[in-house]
Symmetry: C2
Subunit: 345 residues, 2 copies
DNA sequence: CTGAAAGCGCTTACAG
DNA sequence: CTGAAAGCGCTTACAG
């Protein structure tokens, strides 16, 4: 019905210039309050909608942000990054910005092809959501636009990052296990895989160090190959009394495996996860885990990136977002578990 | 480094006009092959990237599609629509289009506020992904741009839709149960809730009709309230031998409930789901279910919508995408289940 | 085969 | 307080 109403159309109807209409609709100075009101009213009546493309062209801003997620983090069981993207979309709302999702294929990552949004100048900045290969990081560094790593970081790259405080959360979680009397604690995760898994491992290790518990290499259990595909977990001969898993999904698989071997959770061994995703409450018993604050991460990332867009020289470095331990039923006190052990046999 | 290289910059370096550069880079007629090649080469060397905003302004197209998902379909356990959105993003790639996600809040849906992408003229068309309220459908009808309902439809609205063939898939799935000897079959789902749940119910019903099995009202089990929140399922006194669930998640909950009441699945009763999502293989036994072809749905939706953008008069009506039955372990032959019953007691 | 001119719809100085 | 002019970087007729 109202086909492409422009500021000029409004201006002509009002008998003023389009400059005045622009100023009025943008609440700029230089137009009397009374005229402003009349212009806004007429604009509303005429069903005027701004042409942001023209605005963008003039200002040199697209008001779009590119969100790049590597394909390997987007399998059917992995909704975590999609959920982060969702929160990013919501966080962008209040700034008048929009998010454009780009799934980075294995192929493009290997070939170092930058996302099409880049070549199309579709966005004012980039969020790389999820760890990418070293060579691809170097490719991304060439992009002369504001960018931010979300949920991972790379010390070689001088790029700001926002991540959960994986190190500290895993440290606290392990401390909790030790407080519950555990001293034989394994870590489950490929510690060469991502910065998250590595840092969670180091938090676990710090807790052991502080409590003078020696680290046992045979209790660092690999859970995935270098492509990130889960592999069967080797349960060690000498069974630990607790397992710190790098994520809920692997904790879920571990519990299934332990049960199939005849071990009871948490009576025989305790298991903790990380993420507090669907798997945390799908596992029986429900997992004690760390809740990652997706909303806060998205907000922090957007806030930082938009500041970098307006002031390109701003540096944030490595920004950490705190997680929160969620206590559920997958951890037993060690004494209690010993008693159970006796009555069990 | 290469700050805002324009076609003019290339034109000046080459000693031609920017019109010629535009034609060359867009492979239009009117430039000799030899000159085209030289221009493309120089553009590459200079790191030229097109300014799509300027292109958009000239052409009156944004090359963006708005994807609107009601908030209630985006909970922590519901990644289905986000996965559809992901496939939409991928499908748009080949057309040079981009997707912009808008999560429609309860509030905005109630207040009939159209998404901001609409007011900002940010997109050339809309995909409404997931059932919206009747009044909101009417609001959406006012949008004078191409639009499409995805994964639901409304007969009162003259808006094209793309959905899984829920009716036929549920019909086939129920036929399969009957082939396995079942005749006491319940349906689980709020049949007034969404068109999907309703159509799956009707497919189930058609199968009963064809096999002259009377429909029992007491075997239509409600699973959610009007807001879509799951409620506790009432298991009927007289236990059916099979349950057709409207989705895998509810099948998962049903299996837990049946087990807690001492019934074995599939020995005592069979259960089938719909969607083939994470819950299908998280359930023990793994669920026989219908795999929804997300990729095909996304591709069909995009293809249809883009055609409507170039030819606004085109109508597609109700487009159905076939699903596929995935046979797993949650269904027993009726005879077999009777035998087990005997040996069990 | 090549290019000068016009225009898409805004906003930003600048002049009055 | 108000407006004429210029320009953002393309593409589309149209003229040569």
């Amino acid at each position: 019905m109202n086909k492409n109403i422009t500021m000029r159309d409004i201006a002509e109807k009002m008998g003023v210039s389009s400059v005045t209409v622009s100023k009025a609709l943008n609440d700029k100075e230089g137009v009397s309050e009374e005229l402003k009101e009349r212009i806004k009213l007429l604009a509303g009546e005429m069903g005027y909608r701004i042409n942001t493309v023209a605005k963008s062209m003039k200002e040199g801003l697209t008001y779009n942000i590119g969100v790049v997620i590597p394909e390997r983090f987007t399998g059917p069981a992995q909704s975590f990054y999609l959920r982060v993207y969702q929160e990013i979309s919501i966080a962008l709302e209040r700034y008048g910005y929009y998010g454009i999702l780009h799934i980075l294929t294995h192929e493009d990552e290997k070939q170092l092809n930058l996302p099409r949004v880049y070549y199309d100048r579709k966005v004012d900045g980039f969020i790389i959501l999820g760890q990418i290969s070293k060579p691809y990081i170097e490719a991304v560094e060439q992009i002369e636009q504001p960018k931010l790593f979300l949920d991972f970081y790379d010390e070689h790259a001088d790029i700001d990052s926002v991540t959960t405080d994986n190190f500290y959360c895993a440290y606290e979680l392990t401390n909790y296990l030790i407080q519950q009397g555990h001293r034989s604690i394994a870590y489950v995760g490929n510690i060469y895989s991502t910065s998250s898994i590595q840092d969670r491992y180091l938090g676990y290790y710090k807790s052991l160090l502080e409590h003078r518990i020696p680290l046992k290499e045979s209790w660092i259990l690999n859970d995935r190959d270098d492509e990130g595909s889960f592999i069967d977990i080797d349960i060690p001969e000498e069974l630990p009394t607790a397992f710190v898993c790098n994520c809920d999904q692997i904790a879920h698989l571990l519990v299934l495996k332990l049960k199939s071997l005849g071990h009871r959770v948490p009576e025989d061994c305790s298991v903790v996860g990380f993420d507090n995703d669907v798997f945390a409450t799908l596992t029986e018993p429900h997992l004690t885990t760390v809740e990652v604050d997706i909303e806060k991460m998205a907000q922090t990332a957007i806030h930082s990136l938009l500041r970098k867009i307006s002031s390109p020289e701003v540096r944030f470095g490595r920004v950490l977002v705190q997680g929160k331990i969620i206590y559920r039923e997958s951890v037993n006190e060690k004494n209690k578990s010993l008693q159970d052990e006796v009555s069990h046999h």
